[in-house]
Amino acid sequence: MRSALTRQLFAGIFLLSPLSALAEGAVRVLECTIEQTCDLAASCNPDSGDISFNMEPIKLAADGAGSYLIRYEFSGSTFQADMEARSFAGPFMWDIYEDRNTLLANSEYRFLWHKLSLSPVPQSDIHFLACEFTQ
């Protein structure tokens, strides 16, 4: 474990940089506005509404990948699930019953929310979102 500790020391020296902004292990809130929704036929229409994704970290790697709990309200219901993050910027993936949800960033402020239903046949909804992390 000494080599790991050596890495930690060097990490500690890197930590002297004043560039830090994201606190390691912080609760994150992604606040979004739905701008457009597309159906399985790739037919897209303007949409509206706000959605706030609350992400509570459980176990994270240094690059922000790891497990979270995600909680949000949508269409009058509250959803909560275990979520996997592949990096601090996503993709973020979680399941609600049979639906596979994926949240992808395509810029600092643009996200794509893909909801894939597996039953009875695969079909999806796609929401284009304008988002910002407020925590």
Binding site: L9, A11, G12, S20, L22, G25, K59, A89, F133
Partner: protein
């Protein structure tokens, strides 16, 4: 959408990078017999203490340092006090003569003990006297300002900080500070703590396996949510059928008479209470109709007590969580000098209709940590044991230390010693046994090569009770980590008025201590660890 943080800035950030008992045993008391010779402290600072007050580290809000001269057997040391985002207070004590190692202690209950509190200081000083750099944290809130679990009301982040984040960040920060101060990396890091501190230690092994090389987790609060359901169950049962201290003393006598001799020795200790099946309605005197004095239990009281031993179950009769063990109700002399059943005040309220200490802890967990947003007015009497356990799922994922995957910890050379008192009346000891059995299998088949459990007959929560409650598991884990010597047994002592009244070997589970048949039953040397 105020205080927005663009992803670009987040990316830059990532480039940088009961309440009571925490350590009640006798850490470092066996240091003289350690083959690691860890008290040899011949490393000296390469910076001045004052230099540390200018450090800039990730998540660091403030930092100060002070050189403290040697006094009253406390060696000269540099004390570094600081704050990590948002309100994680920490203290690192750095001895002038260092053994190259790091030692950290945790927090009881819902934490919030300031690093400057007496018990925190005393626990750090124990490590300091042995040559360690030591640290502790308040876990992100101060209990004297935000009691119980109410800290989440001021900032939800504090729930995560309490659950696990504060300990990890403090450990990383403290080791970075120590390494800079001495000009060389920490060689080995150790954790030693009880109760919630035991939970903190387990989570470190599970989620941050590089933080510590050796972990002693005493009576760990493995399953905070399971405990909570159990405490609500007990409180609801006792609300219906209160029992008195006198009845509890009578029950203690009944249980000891039935269970004590099963292990072959009538010594006031029950080696493995699972071997004693209690049926309270058959084993205890039941009051005649119209009678309700301390010589007997009413049928309703017997039902309530049976429920506490059995633990909560649902309408299908399926167990939700283990109960407390026979022998935990035994009468012993507490720290106050008064003798009473181990259940009094902790499980059984001091006065009928009041809340017990266990219930207080559980009720706070429900009101502030389980519900989101918190429900400070939540009424525990509405808890439905068939449908409501799932309410606790979210908090379980964040705070329970139930992850049995310890592969990374093991791969890093980590060693873990868990101890648990069979007579614990705050945390149900079977939560430790069940976790150990699952984890040692999941990380096996030779799981005992890095993880061992030592059950302590007659010991209450962290310490106390009638059993031998003093031991030095930290020296055992140091020798295991550094010398590769796995503990075959650990000597435990019962100390009364400064004298060793009884000693016994603690045995690696599932082994038990078996009397040789000759010599005093109060001396460890007359016992052997054997398979049950």
């Amino acid at each position: 959408m105020n205080n927005k943080i663009p992803l670009r800035i987040l990316a830059l950030g990532l480039i940088t990078l009961l309440p009571a008992a925490y350590v009640h045993a006798q850490p470092f008391s066996e240091a003289a017999s350690s083959l690691a010779d860890y008290t040899r402290a011949d490393i000296h600072p390469s910076l001045s203490c004052a230099d540390l007050s200018g450090l800039e580290l990730q998540d660091l809000v403030s930092i100060s340092s002070e050189q403290i001269p040697a006094q009253n057997n406390i060696p000269s040391h540099c004390r570094v006090s600081g704050m990590l985002e948002p309100e994680i207070a920490f203290v690192v004590d750095l001895p002038s003569d260092w053994n190259g190692r790091f030692y950290m202690i945790g927090n009881g209950g819902h934490a919030g003990q300031r690093p400057g509190d007496g018990f925190q200081i005393a626990s750090r000083y124990a490590g300091l006297q042995a040559g360690f750099a030591t640290a502790s944290t308040n876990t992100g809130h101060n209990a004297d300002e935000e009691p119980g679990a109410s800290f989440v009301m001021s900032n939800p982040q504090k729930a995560i900080d309490y659950a696990y984040r504060a300990v990890h960040l403090t450990a990383v920060t403290a080791k970075a500070i120590a390494s800079l101060y001495y000009g060389q990396v920490v060689s080995y890091s150790y954790w030693n703590s009880c109760s919630n501190g035991g939970r903190q230690g387990l989570i470190e092994a599970q989620r941050y396996p590089q933080d510590f090389d050796g972990i002693v987790t005493v009576a760990p609060w493995v399953d905070q949510t399971g405990f909570t359901i159990g405490a609500l169950w007990n409180q609801q049962a006792l609300d219906q059928s209160p029992v008195t201290a006198g009845k509890m003393a009578m029950l203690a006598s009944v249980v000891m008479n039935k269970c004590d001799a099963i292990d072959g020795l009538v010594d006031g200790l029950i080696d493995d209470p699972r071997h004693c099946a209690l049926n309270i309605k058959e084993d205890a005197p039941i009051c005649q109709t119209g009678t309700d004095d301390d010589s007997c239990l009413t049928p309703a009281q017997a039902d309530a007590i049976q429920k506490i031993y059995d633990g909560p179950y649902n309408i299908q009769g399926q167990s939700i969580f283990p109960g407390f063990m026979p022998g935990s109700e035994a009468v012993s002399t507490g720290f106050s000098g008064a003798a009473s059943s181990g259940w009094m005040n902790l499980i059984v309220p001091a006065t009928p209709g009041a809340g017990s200490a266990d219930f207080g802890l559980a009720n706070d967990t429900m009101r502030y940590l389980v519900f989101q947003p918190p429900q400070p007015d939540y009424d525990y009497r509405t808890f439905d044991f068939n449908s409501d356990p799932e309410l606790l799922h979210r908090w379980s994922r964040l705070a329970d230390a139930r992850d049995i995957n310890l592969r990374d910890f093991r791969a890093n050379g980590g060693k873990l010693i868990m101890t648990y008192g069979w007579a614990d009346t705050i945390l149900q000891p079977m939560m430790g046994v069940n976790y150990y059995e699952q984890a040692v299998t999941a990380n096996g088949p030779d799981g005992t090569d890095f993880m061992r459990l030592f059950m302590i007959p007659g010991m209450a929560h962290c310490a106390g009770g009638n059993g031998p409650d003093q031991n030095d598991a930290i020296t055992a884990v140091i020798d295991w980590v550094e010398q590769g010597i796995a503990p075959q047994s650990i000597v435990a002592k019962k100390i009364v008025n400064g004298e060793v009244a009884r000693s016994r070997p603690l045995c690696p589970y599932p082994q038990v201590a078996r009397y040789d048949g000759s010599g005093s039953i109060d001396e460890a040397e007359n016992f052997q660890c054997v398979a049950p």
